[in-house]
Symmetry: C2
Subunit: 352 residues, 2 copies
Amino acid sequence: MTAVLKNDLLLRALLREPTPRRPIWLMRQAGRYLPEYRATRARAGNFMAMCMSPQFACEVTLQPIDRYPLDAAILFSDILTIPHAMDVGLEFEAGEGPKIERPIRSAADVDKLKIPDPAHELRYVVDAVALIRRELNGRVPLIGFAGSPWTVGTYMVEGGGSKTFGRIKRMMYESPRVLHRLLDVLARSTILYLNAQIAAGAQAVMVFDTWGGVLTPAQYEEFSLHYMAQIVDALTREADGRRVPSIVFTKGGGAWLAKIAAIGCDAVGVDWTTDLATARAAVGGRVALQGNLDPSALFAPAATLHAETLRVLDSFGAGPGHVFNLGHGITPDVDPERVAVLVDTVRNYTPR
Amino acid sequence: MTAVLKNDLLLRALLREPTPRRPIWLMRQAGRYLPEYRATRARAGNFMAMCMSPQFACEVTLQPIDRYPLDAAILFSDILTIPHAMDVGLEFEAGEGPKIERPIRSAADVDKLKIPDPAHELRYVVDAVALIRRELNGRVPLIGFAGSPWTVGTYMVEGGGSKTFGRIKRMMYESPRVLHRLLDVLARSTILYLNAQIAAGAQAVMVFDTWGGVLTPAQYEEFSLHYMAQIVDALTREADGRRVPSIVFTKGGGAWLAKIAAIGCDAVGVDWTTDLATARAAVGGRVALQGNLDPSALFAPAATLHAETLRVLDSFGAGPGHVFNLGHGITPDVDPERVAVLVDTVRNYTPR
């Protein structure tokens, strides 16, 4: 039996339905800036162990919800769970970011990739979703997520993070069909993965396209947006008799917001480099917007942070369809007290 | 006595005067992708030694001009010569990027900074410009350059390169006046520096704002564009009876092209994430545009590279005011033969 959802502000705002106030959650809200997170991580041993244990994942997912009156929980996991399940040898080296032991460099490498079965290789994620949903007990909705095929693909081809994306861009220009096959396998894997999260209890889903912004406009449409459209198109529409809204976020995608809005998602994430007023004009009311405080504003003194937060809230303007968030994830060096100031400012906001 | 300029396509295109064909030069055209550059660097010992020797700087500046029929030479130097002259302890560690031993973290640190005298601490650059100009003997114009105050400031505050710019953003939010004082010192230094380059023979100048794109729109105007406007405003207008055109380039600044165009520069650089047609509509014919082939297109097979180059040329449309370039610098792993294909395609282009 599923608990009744007590706070559905997020779900309503994502569908551009009126809400008494703007909902707020924060990308990477379960993260290293919280001492309780660092304590759990120390107990788990390492990052991937924390992701792979439904108990640990549930624990850290709930930490920010217990500490702040946020309007949503987001599954604690990583965008690289799919390549991990594809057995490419993913490691998180301390302070180094992800490394992939067997990167994808050829058609033969792509051929070897199998679409992970969420009920088996990714079972730990599905179980985490179910457990978190149960433990949330209807306090706030739970957001599931996945990386975009392009973004996940960059790690698989580069063998880790990258500054120039030289290897995947070389593949794009030298053997675009191989790259398309990789992205297609990733898109199909992501569809199964997100739908399994929805079946297990995720009440909204988000696709993170962290690296779409390194592409030309034409490449973005062909190699990133196309696959996100495929995913959005195949998502389960409803669960528990409610629409499951989808959010698509391309960091650095400010110029392409209208194109993203056109793929059928319910909401579009906006990073801090685009004003929400500009973003809203670009999408023309077709979708809700999520964002977009500069994450570094959390370093500001309380009064400045308060003013910057109001500026973001004001910039969206009147009417429904805004979910407050940062323009990117919280960084580890943020003081948790500043987050309290931010959440408080958003919760007490009345449009001027 | 100054040699007559035999090829002034660049200068005319930057001023939106008609030219028989589109001029082309490439950011970082004197660079590691050229075996002759690597040989000079080996002789010089290290990167900074190469910058600080007018002979070596002249030698590598001319290498791409000798190899390809390019329409401009650009001074071989680095955007960190100004902090180097300010004695902050700049080091280029092999494969590591720049490190600054004594980063700027406080008002006291800023107070200690002295504006370098181009005739003394930066004499080696001025001498290099004069020598290159003499050695070019009028073949093509020579472009001088500097980093934008914001971009140079990021290295000085972060102590080197950065992914998140956490320290300078913290300074921006915590003590904006300190940051403004740093940027002001850098802007005043840059004015003297660029005007000294012009006096020594630079026929056009470019300001590289590599990191302006990490700011919000309001921060970009306040902390980056404002100082570039100050610089453009104070530049020497004419030398040898000719206008000295200025180019301003903010990587990731696609959304702000109209604002950049309004500061009084003659041309605006465009990275590969914005189509030139979009860029041209944004600036409304007030400035010339420079760009914007994806540097990774140089990995493509010749036929694809040719087609991508035509696409960029076509996207600008008809009429004067386009200087062909990449959207960012050439990377070291490019095959010099591909550059020949690119240059050839641009030189033989006739608008369709």
